[in-house]
Symmetry: C2
Subunit: 559 residues, 2 copies
């Protein structure tokens, strides 16, 4: 018989995404390791990205969310999984963790050879007057989910605070349950990680489903009455509701790490090296609680997302049990997506606002197209914003919104970021094309074309119509469209693209021209004609759809 | 007024994908160029990938396929487009093309400064007895489409020869029209560019829709009777049909180039440099008629696909009108996809059969998963085969088949090939994850994991069950599944994965073991347990689904 003494004692604090992945991978790598998973909550390895969908009934089986239980993990992986068990202290010199059984209240010490901290994050709960009302809930665990689902049953009106990914998913699912929903967001847009124009489609979709969207506002206090909860907003508005879901973000759950003297970032994330090791070489960290590096720039970055957490947990097991085979952890992109009713939006890499805040040079284009060949039935519009480094053309980030194919383009662009591709590479990317699936020139190719054109000076793009009346605004859309959906400026001249070469005389060569169309393409074509005929010309980037959506004939149709 | 004399005379032979793209791009770059497009057929710039879908009625408007007409191209782009006009000779020393007006029959000479040959390809029509029967048609142009659509009206039975991309699309659309369809393919599989196991799903879907699929067979002669056409097959079978669609491939239409003494490949493709220039520096070539380089290996490669043709045409215009800004054409991947009823399959880069034929070293894994998180409703199965270079782990190619999300994974893998990513990169790829769109570990990540595990010796995969009865076959599926869908071997032992550690005594340590499960994952887990307990063990790659599909409980469900 082989030796059955433990090869190594691996203790994992946190049993959801990163912790469970680390434990499973560790067991594949070493049958003889002693592997213990300590989870403060009652559940391990559950699908926390699915919680909103069970509340709304789109996922019907609660069991579907419980990926594993301690029993299945024992049977399949011979893991010592301890739910409702809190790690309360780390005795680093003696390589042991103090463990409290939350049911029995007893504490004990558990020795480790290697420790992984995967404590995750906890929802932010601001200290506002009235915040302790039991009708103000957050969503992080299966227990939270059950509480919200139960509370929603009797609530006619629910207020969701925060229009980030979770807030949007909750708002949608609450509408699905027939609730009246108010959604409050501090920023002047939904989905704050994205740039504002790329979130317009989501905002429109929320309003179309009668969600009362309040941007640039926040709750300053809550007041309880017998059967309602009154939210006082910074704008002065008062709002009566029956249930409040707080979804304003999470903070890393690193009190244990801090007490143990492990290095934390300013925002409280565990600092790790590129093998996800903390400043104590016997202690690793993974998941929502850590700060790793940004894959694009190499700068510190903390993202609280399921995908990276799972892979980080796996990486730690690799690093501990087969270090020679384990390349450094590459860092994170922050790729994220959300579906809101019939539309979706997401990003990968850096946004314009983040690049601006960091003072990094960038250029950007926004393009519009269909998700597959326009001649094939069912083509649906989508919009793509691309950001790149003017020094070398390398892609820095991208955002996509639309009715179909958003996830595909984000995945292509995330892969492009991983491969450090340039805008020239995107122009030439050879994606799968058959009419039901794509186009001979996919929107990702178009973004590459547009970016190269901008870089090479074939066109100068502007992001807004000029206020200066000396600038001629040339609308090149077909006249019927211009009449039904005029530009919101009084002095635009309409010459359809096909007639432009013959009607150049109607423009004043001495004054600059801005060309405008529905989606951006014809304006570019017109600008090329004018530039080569000696005009000083710029084109409105992304067309009217990207700037005056409510006015636009190109407004995304809703199926 | 600016100078209006032509800056350069650009003549383009061929006005569909590459030719039309080159003309449009050239005009954006140079208002003053004289740009002429000579097209032998009656139509220019039509969507030839859409032709089968109009025949079947899935695309209803014929106009949708006519992207542009000579009139719109004149108005929008000031192009001199001449349909039904054939370039019959090139006088290279004098930089002129002899042009025949196919309607009037007159010929004339047209001078050029730069010439682009984008003649495309023509369907192969083998010289078989009876091949000239008017009921034997091919599909390449709008006219071909109209002829097939008309002929299909009165045909009860249609025979499609060739189960490549076009043949499959035609077979599907003919079933849509209510026809009885026989599909004959020379190879022992459909979709010959793919490896056989990855085409099983498509073959099953064809049969499920009552298509009479005849693999490993071919027509040797046709015999006409009054109201039927009799196909005699190599197998000895005789088949009565009313209409035959030949879809056995295309050959480059390079007679003009050959007569002009331009360099051709052995298979008759125009040879070009990395700026798509022929051996005459004033003559460029693009589209289905050329041989360019393979993006993965740099070896010569000819692919007849719409995406590359469009981008090659655009590249030629760039190269002529702004050479300083134009990087070399990067080459082609051969990314392709086909939808067949409710399933899809495709590839990018190199297949196993192609790598074998070229004698290139490779390794491969096949993985199975769902197209998004399994806990979210609507998850559909898909299968991914990955090939990589054992020297450095670089991805060489991939194939995907399944019910949803096939195009997305192909596009991610095409981008990975462009970025020269390795299997380690795929394992860490950060793709967009929300339950409706993906999974915390996407199938692309799983393929990366499986490939790294294989490379690092964590598991040794086998592609078939051993015939040697000395090898123990261990089936780790749950017993009910084993009973309802037993392995097609008499001596398999069933120990479900969760019980394996406690039942190792049932296995003979002196004899090798092959582990088997439904999808490949549990067999890998079991192999890890056995290997670490001193067994000599291999695992069946990709599970039963990849090898014994008809027997498998994991057989892809049909919605």
């Amino acid at each position: 018989m082989p030796n059955t003494a433990p090869s190594l004692r691996f203790v994992i604090v946190g049993g959801v995404a990163a912790g469970a992945s680390a434990a499973a991978r560790a067991r594949r790598l070493d049958e003889r390791a002693s592997i213990a998973v300590l989870e403060r909550g009652p559940d391990v390895s559950f699908a926390n990205c699915g919680l909103p969908y069970f509340i709304g009934g789109e996922i019907r089986q609660r069991d579907a969310l419980s990926v594993q239980t301690p029993q299945t993990l024992k049977a399949l992986l011979n893991l010592d999984v301890r739910p409702s068990t809190e790690a309360v202290a780390i005795d680093r010199p003696n390589h042991r963790v103090q463990v409290r059984d939350l049911a029995g209240g007893t504490t004990s010490w558990m020795p480790y050879d290697r420790l992984l901290l995967a404590p995750g994050a906890v929802p932010v709960r601001p200290s506002l007057p009235g915040i302790d009302d039991p009708r103000i809930l957050t969503l992080r665990s299966l227990g939270d989910m059950d509480r919200i689902k139960a509370a929603a049953t009797s609530a006619a009106h629910v207020t969701v605070v925060g229009a980030g990914f979770i807030g949007l998913e909750m708002a949608e699912q609450l509408v699905r349950l027939g609730k009246n929903v108010t959604l409050i967001e501090l920023a002047d847009q939904v989905l704050p990680p994205l740039d504002r124009p790329m979130t317009q489609l989501i905002a429109d979709e929320l309003r179309r489903h009668r969600i009362d969207l309040r941007l640039s506002d926040r709750v300053v206090s809550f007041a309880a009455t017998a059967d309602t909860l009154v939210c006082h907003l910074a704008s002065g508005t008062t709002l009566s509701t029956q249930l409040v879901i707080l979804a304003i973000g999470v903070r890393p759950d690193t009190a244990l790490a801090r007490a143990a003297g492990l290095a934390l970032s300013e925002r409280g994330h565990l600092r790790v090296n590129d093998h996800l090791q903390t400043n104590d070489p016997h202690i690793y960290a993974a998941g929502d609680a850590i700060e790793t590096t940004d894959l694009v720039t190499g700068t510190p970055s903390a993202v609280a997302l399921g995908g990276p957490a799972n892979r980080q947990g796996r990486h730690v097991a690799d690093r501990i049990f087969r270090p020679a085979h384990t390349p450094p952890f590459p860092g994170v992109l922050g790729t994220a997506i959300v579906r809101v009713f019939n539309v979706a939006a997401g990003l990968t890499g850096w946004s314009e606002k983040r690049l601006r805040a960091a003072g990094r040079p960038f250029r950007t284009v926004t393009v519009n197209d269909n998700h597959h060949a326009g001649y094939f039935p069912g083509a649906k519009p989508l919009q793509l914003k691309l950001l790149w480094d003017p020094a070398d053309g390398r892609v820095l980030g991208a955002q996509v919104s639309g009715l179909a194919g958003v996830d595909k383009r984000l995945d292509v662009l995330a892969t492009a970021l991983t491969g450090r591709l340039t805008i020239d590479d995107l122009a030439q990317l050879e994606l799968a094309y058959a009419p039901p699936f794509g186009a001979a020139k996919d929107i990702v190719n178009l973004a590459g074309f547009a970016a190269c054109n901008a870089r090479d000076g074939l066109v100068t793009l502007v992001d807004a119509l000029p206020a200066d009346p000396a600038v001629q605004i040339l609308d090149v859309r077909p006249p019927p469209l211009v009449q039904s959906h005029p530009l919101p400026v009084p002095h635009a001249l309409n010459i359809p693209l096909g007639a432009l070469r013959g009607r150049l005389g109607e423009l004043d060569r001495a004054r600059p021209v801005v060309t405008v169309c529905a989606l951006g393409k014809s304006a570019y074509f017109a600008a090329r004609i004018l530039a080569q005929n000696g005009f000083q010309v710029t084109a409105l980037a992304g067309g009217i759809r990207a700037h005056f959506d409510p006015l636009s004939p190109a407004k995304l149709p809703v199926p």
